[in-house]
Symmetry: C2
Subunit: 364 residues, 2 copies
């Protein structure tokens, strides 16, 4: 094991969990070597005591691994406001380290699941800079998923040799194109975090600045993150549908984004999809509630390629054909605002009984 | 029946329903005499044809009542994007007018219910300007309830004699203090509307400008609207709890409002309340997601008078006492931001299986 270049993205929630406060500082130095994560307890809203708990975990791991403490990053997921069972964790770390092995990635992913139904691992291999390069990512997260970051925890590892600044840039770009464009319930977590570690062992010609090979790396990385973020939406708490919302023809990207999220986060839209009820009027209502300026005559709404609304009027459609669209697992909504050339897409899920069930009984 | 002074508040949704477009114009003139309302179909997102439908209804009613067409206001509630069965409505208006009687207010209220479980009527009587004055309001609305307006339809009638400008001012003030401070699902409807008619038959000394008697009228009106808006939240789709969220100690009212709504509209907060799960950490997470600047050391969170978080740390509490709070029908959340003297409250409900059920099967 060797130290790796590191880049990371953290939730913008004011009440960032204790481990994130530690990581934010450590990631600044650009180097890390280990990530340790627990599920069941978020170690958020736990004050200074919680901060000390996270430091203790990091310290215990660094001693076992015989690496510098500041090379350890910490992640937590679970109930907010509860203290960690710190003694139990510390006493288990020795065993944890003994169990480390090269094929343990799925074990790691499974261990950090909370309400996830299945583990999420994505791998891409490619030749970059004359060498075989691998990117492997794991993600955990089924609820509290929303932009300004994304799933609770996403860890990506690669053997690519890459400049620190370039790593930071491409990671942010890839996260923005993937995890920052999904929403399950519009709730922003205290613990959301995405980390990439690049140890350079592939020995490729270095990836830096604007190069074709850096772009290839970014494409591979985006692929990995896209696979993970779609898996996260599909495994959204109680999700029965995967809904893609594309808003195009916007004057600004911010308008497109605002409209897309207004639709994605509407409980009335989400329940209609769960009920397979072709109630497209709710999409119009959610669009109209977004607050962006809309020229009503110019907009065009289609669901699964069926145009349901244009020229500020409903289109006469075969309702049974639309019902069929609502009965499929994946539903594509497209809004053309007819006002410009900017666009934004959001992936989301429906709102089901199970979402309520899972979240009504979470902490007890 | 005589014409009345009128004031109104309409949804800010871009896709306002056809009847609202008509009313907006008519209310400008300051006088109205009749309101006709249907449920089952919103006549929203129905284009020019829908606009003509609303005009036809208004025309038919004005002919039956032998009043000027522009004195009629129209309301609709129900599925968005569907056309009204206009022939059926027109042919029924004669019968409707024949059935008018002085004690018909509950019939009117019941007739406009959609997913409401019970009718909502509130009445206040008082001596103002040396005469007996009555204010009576009815409200319909159980889902799609959110600020920037409120319930789908709220109609208030009074016999007070009041200046048009004063009526407009106090009605907006009273609506802002009541209906604009509730939320069931964060969805802004295309049809939300509140109207007040004041026919002056009480013969009181006129209410105008800033007077003690105008203030008394406003207080009575606020009482009526408060009773109605609380009834609307209690009857929120699938609601099992009434949740009051008070954010105080804010630097600006806008900060307080933003924080209160971030909590009120969090599905994770709402499901925890439904499950009677004392998971107060979700309130902290929702507060932290609000985007306002927060000095974490200064905030104070209490639920049902139990302080659960202060000095940026959880308070050691008797969890069973907190559970008891969660088991009651009404739960009070109070956040003190410790940053100023502005405050804002929001009333909301929990998120239950029934909310999903009602909305998954709405249009079909």
């Amino acid at each position: 094991m060797v130290p790796a270049k590191v880049a990371a993205v953290f939730t913008k929630n004011t009440f960032k969990a204790a481990p994130l406060l530690i990581n934010e500082e450590r990631v600044q130095r650009g180097i890390a070597q280990a990530i340790i994560t627990n599920s069941g307890c978020a170690n958020a809203a736990t004050g200074k005591a919680g901060y000390r708990d996270a430091l203790m975990i990091s310290g215990a791991l660094s001693r076992e691994l015989k690496i510098k403490d500041e090379l350890v990053l910490v992640g937590s997921t679970g109930v907010i406001g509860k203290r960690l069972p710190i003694k139990k964790i510390e006493s288990g770390i020795g065993k944890l380290v003994k169990g480390l092995n090269e094929t343990g990635i799925e074990d790691a992913e499974s261990a950090m699941m909370t309400t996830d139904k299945y583990p999420k691992v994505a791998i891409r291999k490619g030749v970059i800079g004359a060498k075989d390069v691998t990117i492997c990512g794991i993600a955990k997260g089924a609820g509290m998923i929303e932009p300004n970051m994304a799933t609770l925890l996403t860890y990506v590892m690669t053997d690519a040799f890459i400049d620190s600044k370039a790593l930071n840039t491409v990671f942010h770009q890839a996260i923005n194109a993937t995890f920052n464009a999904i929403s399950v319930d519009g709730c922003m977590s205290t613990n959301d975090m995405a980390i990439i570690l690049a140890n350079g062992l592939a020995g490729n010609n270095p990836l830096e600045k604007v190069q074709a090979r850096l772009q290839r790396f970014r494409d591979m990385l985006t692929d990995v993150l896209m696979e993970l973020c779609q898996a996260v939406v599909k495994d959204g708490e109680g999700a029965t549908k995967f809904i893609s919302i594309m808003v195009k023809g916007a004057k600004t990207k911010s308008d497109a984004r605002c409209a897309a999220y207004s639709i994605a986060n509407s409980n009335l839209v989400k329940t209609a999809f769960f009920g397979e009820d072709p109630n497209w009027g709710r999409v119009i209502a959610a669009l109209g509630a977004s607050g962006i300026y809309i020229e009503k005559e110019k907009i065009n709404l289609s669901i699964g390629n069926i145009v349901v609304y244009k020229h500020n009027s409903p289109v006469e459609i075969n309702i049974n054909k639309l019902k069929e669209v609502f009965q499929t697992d994946r539903i594509d909504i497209e809004v053309d605002l007819g006002a410009g050339d900017k666009s934004y897409y959001v992936y989301t899920s429906d709102l089901s009984y199970d979402y309520v069930k899972i979240n009504a009984e979470y902490s007890t």
